[in-house]
């Protein structure tokens, strides 16, 4: 199969890194709480060390590497009759959505995305929801418009 042509904005990497950093900061509390109890009440210093190493691996993976890998693998394509989305680092998944099945399209922008002038486009069919995250603001708006003109839901088939 041919590789899909369009990619999402590279600024997505920064946004995802910030998200991951916040998540990992919360995780840090959990890790340190467990470490504290292990240190204080059990003589399990090696376990604490192991936890610290695990945390570092977790941190570097999800903050440093994962967002970049994720961005590298994110691709999509919009055509008149159908749209395709491909993503996933460990599990690569390519999804085909016929335009005639699209029911409506959402434009979504959280505070962080807004700061980076990015936005997500969410596509709804009668059965599924698909999100193209972190597109350039203008591009997202344009995409919403394109999809809604292509998508003429054939009401006979739901």
């Amino acid at each position: 199969m041919v590789q899909l042509s369009k990619r999402i904005s590279e600024r997505a990497v920064s946004v995802w890194r910030i998200h991951a950093f916040i998540r990992l900061a919360i995780f840090f509390l959990g890790y340190s709480l467990i470490s504290f109890f292990l240190w204080r009440f059990g003589d399990l210093k090696w376990l604490v060390l192991l936890l610290a190493v695990l945390y570092l691996i977790h941190f570097s993976l999800s903050v440093v590497f994962w967002p970049r890998w994720r961005w590298q693998r994110w691709r999509y394509d919009i055509r008149e009759k159908e749209m395709e989305v491909e993503c996933g680092v460990w599990t690569r998944r390519r999804t085909l959505i016929p335009m005639s099945r699209v029911q409506h399209v959402d434009f979504r922008q959280g505070p962080l995305l807004k700061k980076y002038q990015l936005a997500s486009v969410v596509i709804f069919t009668a059965a599924t929801v698909h999100e193209i995250p972190a597109l350039d603001e203008q591009e997202a708006e344009q995409l919403c418009h394109i999809i809604s003109t292509f998508a003429k839901v054939d009401d006979r088939d739901v």
């Binding site: 690569r92 085909l96 069919t125 009668a126 599924t128 088939d157 739901v158």
Partner: protein, 472 residues
């Protein structure tokens, strides 16, 4: 003509009865089990208050529920404190189901459930608990007229007794009902229900005491086994009873635009399903059914589940010989073709299928085996069984395309085959983990309804891509 109407007053009685049914267990506990240490007044006051409250609630709910049928829509207002109004245009109604329960029969009325298409499934759009048969017919006629006015030629006829007796596509024989309950896993369902009920009683009955008493009763394992057998028989009887009530007089009528399913012993139910709304067909067969060469056939309906079962899935044939199922489907849905060769999975998928159940079981079984040495080691034999089951499910899995139709089959204990047509598929996805990619395998999944995904794991890469391009 368009006046606001109330439901038949029998609604009050039926709603009180329903609330009492829900209250029975807590009340029973509050009164009988606490009787020893609380005064007599408590025993009278609690049920009295409950009765008073439910009567009041039932009455006011009935009083505040009005419906109105006009030319274009059905308007419903309800809510005792917070008023809610809802109007449902007739042309948007996808399915209608009538049922006659105990109370409805007493008053000579019917219950009408109405479904519309929408993303939120599983919830009936509107339920009119008790209306006269004439009104139910009138609603059905309005729906038909609204559909005809729109260009879609989707008619929704409603019939209590069909005028042509020869349109019966399928009817369940009485002895099949017994076979059905024996094979559908309902026994285990009933067992689960009983154990759930027992665990509910946890707070009331102190199991420690009970256990000590039981030790006296069940002195040896023979008694224990006997108790198990009795429990099993009770569960079986319950399951047969439930299936009898649910599936007795099960009849499917095949009309031009619709399928009409009627069933039920005491509570009669009549479903009218528009053929245009059928997204696909599922055939299920569990281990015992497979031995008997039987299947159950379900239709995936884009208007929610009218028969109160799983979301969006309606039973077409609860228990039927496979050949018969094929002819029933051919009669009702001529665009589907059932007997066909399935494309098997490639040989390199076999190892993955055989190992997958082993991965899941290895750690817990290993741990148990370790703790119960040396006899626990025998448990590891289960891994062999699991891997054999995995091999079986490898043999069963497959896919098939014929013309516009896609069929996917998978399962371990229960084989499920889903048939759908190209223009019913909402989205199709190919995915591959790193391991799958190395072996040039893909997972093919298809969505036809919300929360209804069907997938086949480990399809050959090229074949999966062929299916994907078929969809394009």
């Amino acid at each position: 003509m368009f006046e606001k109407k109330r439901l038949h007053p029998i609604t009050i009685v039926s709603s009180i009865a329903k609330q009492w049914r829900d209250l029975l267990l807590p009340l029973f506990m509050a009164v009988v089990l606490k009787a020893r240490d609380v005064s007599m007044i408590w025993n009278i006051a609690v049920p009295a208050v409950a009765l008073f409250y439910t009567t009041l609630a039932g009455f006011f709910t009935w009083l505040r529920f009005t419906y109105q049928i006009d030319d274009e829509e059905l308007r419903i207002e309800h809510g005792v404190f917070v008023r809610q109004k809802r109007s449902i245009p007739f042309e948007r109604i996808q399915g209608i189901s009538l049922s006659i329960g105990f109370f409805q029969r007493l008053a000579g009325v019917v219950q009408v459930r109405i479904e519309t298409a929408g993303n939120e499934l599983g919830k009936a759009e509107a339920v009119l608990t008790a209306v006269t048969k004439e009104e139910a017919e009138q609603i059905a006629q309005h729906i038909r007229r609204a559909k005809e006015k729109g260009d879609s030629a989707e008619a929704l006829p409603l019939a209590y007794r069909s005028t042509h007796p020869d349109d019966i596509a399928f009817s369940l024989r009485f002895r099949d009902v017994f076979l059905l309950s024996a094979t559908s896993g309902g026994v285990f369902g009933a067992l689960a229900a009983i154990s759930a009920f027992l665990s509910q009683l946890d707070d009331v009955i102190s199991y420690d005491v009970l256990y000590r008493d039981m030790q006296g009763v069940i002195r040896n394992t023979l008694d224990g086994a006997l108790a198990l057998v009795v429990l099993f028989l009770v569960a079986y009887a319950l399951s047969v009873g439930r299936h009898l009530l649910r599936y007795a007089f099960f009849t499917v009528r095949n009309q031009k635009e619709t399928i009409i399913i009627s069933r039920g012993l005491f509570e009669k139910q009549l479903l009218t399903v528009s053929k245009k709304r059928v997204q696909g067909i599922i055939m299920k067969e569990n281990v015992i059914q497979r031995l008997l060469g039987c299947v159950s056939v379900h239709i995936i309906h884009a208007g929610g589940s009218l028969d109160g079962g799983e979301n969006g899935s309606i039973v077409l044939c609860p228990f039927v010989k496979k050949e018969r199922a094929v002819s029933v489907i051919a009669a009702c849905f001529p665009e589907y073709c059932i007997p066909q060769q399935f494309q098997p999975l490639p040989h390199r998928a076999r190892v993955r299928y055989m190992l997958r159940p082993v991965y899941v079981l290895a750690i817990p079984l290993g741990a148990v085996a370790y703790f119960f040495r040396p006899w626990g080691i025998g448990l590891l034999l289960l891994l062999v069984v699991a891997s054999y089951l995995g091999y079986k499910s490898y043999q069963m899995a497959g896919w098939a395309i014929s013309g516009e139709q896609l069929a996917l089959r998978n399962g371990m204990f229960r084989i499920e085959t889903m048939y759908t047509r190209k223009h019913r598929i909402q989205s199709m996805a190919l995915s591959a983990t790193w391991f799958q990619k190395r072996k040039r395998l893909r997972t093919l999944s298809v969505a036809v309804m919300p929360r209804m995904f069907f997938k086949v794991t480990d399809v050959d890469e090229n074949e999966a891509e062929a299916v994907y391009t078929w969809m394009q």
